[in-house]
Structures are given as structure tokens and as C-alpha cells.
Amino acid sequence: MSLKNLKNPGLWLTLVVVFILGVIPIINNKASAREETLTVLLSVILVSSLNILLGYTGYISFGHIVFYGMGGYVGLFLISVYGWSLWTAMAAGGLASGLLAFLLGSAILRLRGSYFALATIGINEAMRAFISNFEPFGGPTGISLNFQVYNQYGGAAQALWTIYYVVLALALGNILLSYLVKTSKFGLGLQAIREDEEAAEVMGVVTPSSKTWAYVLSAVLPGMVGVLFFFKNGNIEPGPAFRLHLSIELLVMVMLGGYGTIAGPVLGAFGYQRLRGLLLTSDLFKNIQLTVAGVLLLVIILFIPSGAVGWIRHRFPVTRRYLP
């Protein structure tokens, strides 16, 4: 992880683009635009963190959203029961998700290919079913925050802006993190695992611990933004917190943008969320938006499996420097 790596123009280009898109709603001071961009930025964070496990290491997780939900639950529990501030709760949420990933990872990362993918589905469902029965977290009704809680952040309207700034900062931080991981020795080890796990092991990559740390790294930021999102929502329930469908949407975004790249997850998140917004508001496609998204996904899988960024990089080699 040398500083020389930071001179890559593509990294800065990606950061600047995300920053500009993030700042537009702040300059315009429009709440509706802020909400739209917030959805996209949350997706950017979730997708780029998933990319560390999926894109670099080659392990398919259908349970990425578990860390988002887990962080949200731990955070809201600490805020509502112990009166923690949002920021310490956010750190605790990230920590809890990281810890969960460490424990889960030590067990299930021994599984390969489809078996790992299936285990993550099982964990997602087990987690949702367990939280629905777990009384301290409110069982099936979840946790709701008292409206008073927003007062210490300057009222609900101001709190929403503050959360937005933090999410923007986290999104930029996450892009930087995923770049640093990719270019570090650790990241090269992960990519070696993706290509051939036995060969990586022979070359001296300590695969069990590398995989576990990749899993932990991919879990911390979702845990943190989970706290922010559900704090903003004011409540959390088992259904929305551990929705399997959301995990799969994240996979779609990674594939759309191009897995294993830095710009890919960002592009995939932007593209997918914009498209979804367009389809949902169009009269023609409103009812069949799921079908349209499905057809789009199928076309990508069948014809451009390396995603938008992968395809551009392959087609126009000169862009490789600018699309990390």
C-alpha cells in the first residue's frame, strides 16, 4: 500500500465524479434531490464493499445485507435503550458487523463456490428469523425511535442533512479504501485467491485469514451506513433489515458496473438506481419494472459478463488508466 499508488488518475476521477454528484443537492439545497442521491450513495457504499469480497476474492455472497441490518439493529438498540449518540452508535454498528463477519467468516469461508453462496442465503434467512424472535430487539415489530431523539441534531430536517454529509464522506472513503485494498499486497493475495485458490496458497498467501479479513473489511461500512439509514428512517424491522432481494440487487449492480474494478461498482450503483427510478415513475413500465430489470440483467450476463467498466476497458485499452 504505497503512496505511489495514489497517483492513479482514474481513482481521482472516480472520487471527483462522486463528489460533484454528491455536492449538487447541497448547492441546490433541495430535499428531494438529496433523497435520490442518498439512495445512490448508500448503494455505492454497499456495492463497493461487496466488491471486496465478490470482485477481488471471488466469493459470491447472497447475504451482504445481513451486515447492513445487523449494524442498523445494534445502532438503534444503543440509541433507543442506552441513549448513545448517533456517532458512537454508528461506530458500534460497524464494529458489530465486523465482528459478526469475523465469526461467520471463520466458519463458512471454508466452503467454496455454490456452497458458500448457499450458506450465505441460509445465514440471511436464519438471521431474519432469529431477530424476529429476539425480544431485546423488539421481535417482529422491531425498534422505533422517539421523535425527540432528532432534537440533539438540530431537529429532523437538519439531521437529514447531517446524515447526508456523513454518507457522502463514507462513500468517498469507501472508494478510496477499495482502491487501497486492491493495490495492496493483501489485495493482490485476494485476487490470486479469486483466480486459483490452491495456487495462491502455494505462493504463500495465507488464504483462510486473507479471506476472513476481506469479509470483515466488506462488512464494516455496511454496518455503519445501516445505523445511519435506519436512524434516518426512525425505525427498523426484521423484514426490511434483512431483505434477501436487496442483497441480490447489489449483485446485479456489481455485475452491471463490472466486478473487481473500482469505478464499476460506482457506475453500477448509479446506473441501476437511476434506471429503477425511471422505470418506477414511467406509466408504461411501472408495473413491469421487475421484468425489465430482469431482462436487462439477463442481457448483461449473457453478452457482457465483465460489466460496463470491464467491457470499456477491454474494448478501449487506452481508458484503462482512467477506469481503475
Binding site: L54, G58, I60, A107, I108, R110, L111, G113, S114, Y115, A117, L118, A119, I121, G122, I123, E125, A126, A129, F130, S132, N133, P140, I248, L251, V252, M255, Y259, N287, I288, Q289, L290, T291, V292, A293, G294, V295, L297, L298, I301, L302, P305
Partner: protein
Amino acid sequence: MDILTFLVDGLLIGFVYGIAAMGLTLIWGVMNVINLSHGPIIALGMFGIYFAATSLGVNPYVGVILVSFAGLLLGMLIYAIAIHRVINAPHLSTLLATFAVNMIIIGLGTTAFTTSAYNVDFSLGNISVGPVNTPTTRVIAALASVLVTGALYFFLYRTTLGKYVRAVTDNRAAAELMGIPSARILALSFGLGTMLAAIAGGLIATFFPFTILSGGAYELKSFVVGVMGGVGNPLGALIGGLILGTFEGVIPAFMPTSWVPVLEFILFVVILLVRPTGLLGAKK
């Protein structure tokens, strides 16, 4: 209600779980593809017998037969469009391709049928044996499942086409060299898997109300059962289904029903970790 009735109810529905899972593990075993469109196809099976009964006015069990053929054709179509191109690609491609099919079916199904509940208005009364009293439709569903399992075994082990399927399962390249048209056999196998899913859906619809989203729960159960029984092992899937059904029948006697899925999925992950070839051993 006494525990015996729970047990019998669970056991009977376990047979149906068995054939749903058989469809999933057949595809997994033959071509190493996890079919994430399994659930929506189960749901289509449910709607199939509903419309066979209401529009064509046929007996639901005749409907199941019609649905099974429709399921076979649909599966072969899905294979040709969505799977064949990526059959040799990494797992992620086939997982997402079948998930894309899932989204397409759910999207169209939601538009056509909404997500409200449907019910096949059909009853054959109850059967009582000693202290146990259970709907006749469940007993018939269990018998039909045994019949389907038998038919699948007959097909796989007593027909030339079945031999081809097994040959492609064991070694696709070698089978190809022996002159077996592997692409067509793969399409047929995928079709058989979806056929089993559609039959399971049809049988479930004779005693439970359903929506277009109902298949999801059975898809997850099929994963649990399939892994329990061992991938690509049809008899294992049936036995796994019976174990899961019994489990679901007995647990509510000891703790709230809401704990059933928790235990189910923990069991699933534990089996994956401890014995990924299944309790009964994978076929390969």
C-alpha cells in the same frame, strides 16, 4: 391438537417438499447450476392448476398432469434462452442468469395476478385413522410424490434417455465424445427439474392458498432439503423432505412456531459446514 396429528401433517407435506427439492438437486447435480428461478416456477405450478380448474374446468389432479408438461417445456425454454450460453461460465453467471429469470417471472406474474391470495376451491373431505385426522388432499399429494419419485427413478435407470442424463452428469465431455447430444440432454434435465417444481406447486395448491410470491418459501426449503439429502440424489431429497416435514410438524409442540425457520436455517448452515455432501451422501 395432539402431537401425532402434527407429525402426520408434517410428514405428508414432507413428501411434497421432497419432490420440489428433487427438481432443484437434479439440475444442480447434472449441470452444477443452482436454479434461483425454482420458487417462481413452483408458484406458476400453483397458478397452473388454479386456471386449469377454473377456466378449463378439469379436476385439479388432471391439472397437475397438464402443469407438469407445461413445466417441462418452460424449463427447456429457460435453458435454451438463459442458461446455455453461460453453462461453462463461473458460478456467478448462472446464479444471476437464473435469478434474472426469477425476476422476469415474478414481474410478469405480479402484473397478471397481483400479489393477492388465490385458492383452488377443492376438497375431498378428511381421512381418519385412529386419533389422526387429516385432509384427503394431503394424503393424495404424498402418494403422488412417491409415484413421481418412482417415475423419475424409472426414467433415470431404466431408459436410454435417462442413461444419457446420468452419463452427462458424470462427465459431460466424455458423454459428448460417445455421441450423446449433451446440449439437448442438459435442456431436458433442466426441463425435468422445473417439471418437478411445477408438480410440487400444483400439489401444494390443492390444500394451501397461494400468491405469486409463495414459491420463494418453498425454494428455500428445497435448498435445505436438497443439501440435507445430498446434491443430485433424488431419494436423498425425498428423505430430506420427510425429515424437514417432520421437523416442522413436531417443533411447534415444544416452542413458538416462529422459531421453526430459525432452527431450519441454522440446521442448513451446520449441515453445509459439517457434511456438505449431505447426510445421505451426494450422488457424485
